[in-house]
């Protein structure tokens, strides 16, 4: 039950960031904000699907959700992390720096466990990439909010790694709980600058 509640905190945080990004997108037509909106929408929907799967476990009659739903949830999350990393990748490539090749994988011949493992690893890769690039930006800008976001991404990266481990070591019951706590703490850190931005002197949506 705790994990399900935590999942829905993730839903709230993701949709809040997506909504602030969307307001900015509407007002400025910025492609960066389009990618951020897309990333956090995917994350929000992914967390929602996982939360609903969790509810299905709590309420046996509502257990209409299957392993497929878990994989769909993870896939949506991975896509969210991809768009977050992709925002940095675009920035890096246009600055004529060497960008890493983005991972493309085929899911046609894989079973659900293998898919879950691959999605977990892909998420870890994308979040780590985003964290390193955000840290690099902090080195340039010295903006404390950027450091906070980088710390949040680091915690989410640890969370995605634990998620991957929990699939490998399915008998270790505590791993999913630790994973969700670490991930949600990371999301909270992402939310702190956004919250300050949203309430800091009617800055959003005033024009």
């Amino acid at each position: 039950m705790i994990t399900t509640i935590l999942q829905f905190i993730g839903v709230f945080v993701s949709f809040s960031i997506a909504s602030v990004s969307y307001v900015g997108l509407k007002k400025t037509d910025s492609t960066t904000l389009l990618r951020m909106t897309t990333a956090f929408l995917f994350l929000g929907v992914g967390f929602t699907v996982e939360g609903l799967v969790g509810l299905g476990n709590v309420i046996p009659d509502a257990a209409a959700f299957t392993t497929t739903a878990v994989v769909i949830g993870l896939l949506l999350e991975t896509m969210g992390y991809f768009f977050l990393a992709f925002s940095h990748a675009v920035d890096v490539m246009v600055a004529n720096r060497i960008g890493p090749a983005l991972m493309v994988f085929s899911a046609i011949t894989l079973n659900s466990t293998q898919l879950t493992q691959i999605l977990g690893l892909a998420s870890f890769y994308f979040v780590m990439y985003g964290m390193v690039e955000t840290l690099y930006s902090y080195k340039v800008s010295k903006n404390p909010n950027t450091l906070l976001i980088a710390s949040g991404l680091a915690m989410i990266a640890v969370g995605t790694f634990l998620q991957w481990l929990s699939v490998l070591y399915i008998s270790v019951n505590i791993l999913p709980l630790i994973q969700i706590i670490v991930t949600e703490m990371g999301l909270m850190l992402l939310f702190v600058p956004v919250l300050g931005f949203a309430v800091g002197g009617e800055r959003v949506g005033t024009v």
Binding site: E133, S141, T146, F197
Partner: protein, 99 residues
């Protein structure tokens, strides 16, 4: 030794640069000429001409008639756009990104 990388600017960033030039360089209130905008905007003449047309038609810039050449002044809508742009630039920068 730190090597400065070529700075890529998105379309919205170029618009913000042109608008802020039109705002900051209009000290005498008669508007800013295209030469000043070109120098500060750092884009080609043809691209700047097209962009200025778009900014005037969208109401972000006001074109002032002059004897020699057109001059441009930022509108109230343009000032509001710059304010919003600055806010969301800070938001994107928190995530280590540029608008």
């Amino acid at each position: 030794m730190e090597k400065e990388l070529a700075q890529y600017r998105t379309q919205v960033r170029i618009i913000a640069d042109v608008l802020s030039t039109a705002r900051d360089m209009n000290t005498d209130g008669v508007g800013v000429g295209i030469t000043t905008l070109l120098r500060r905007g750092n884009i080609s003449y043809s691209r700047m001409s097209k962009l200025l047309g778009e900014l005037v038609s969208s109401g972000l810039l006001v074109e002032l008639n002059s004897e020699k050449a057109s001059k441009y002044k930022i509108s109230e809508k343009g000032i509001q756009f710059l304010s919003v742009y600055t806010n969301f630039e800070g938001f994107a920068q928190s995530f280590g990104l540029k608008l």
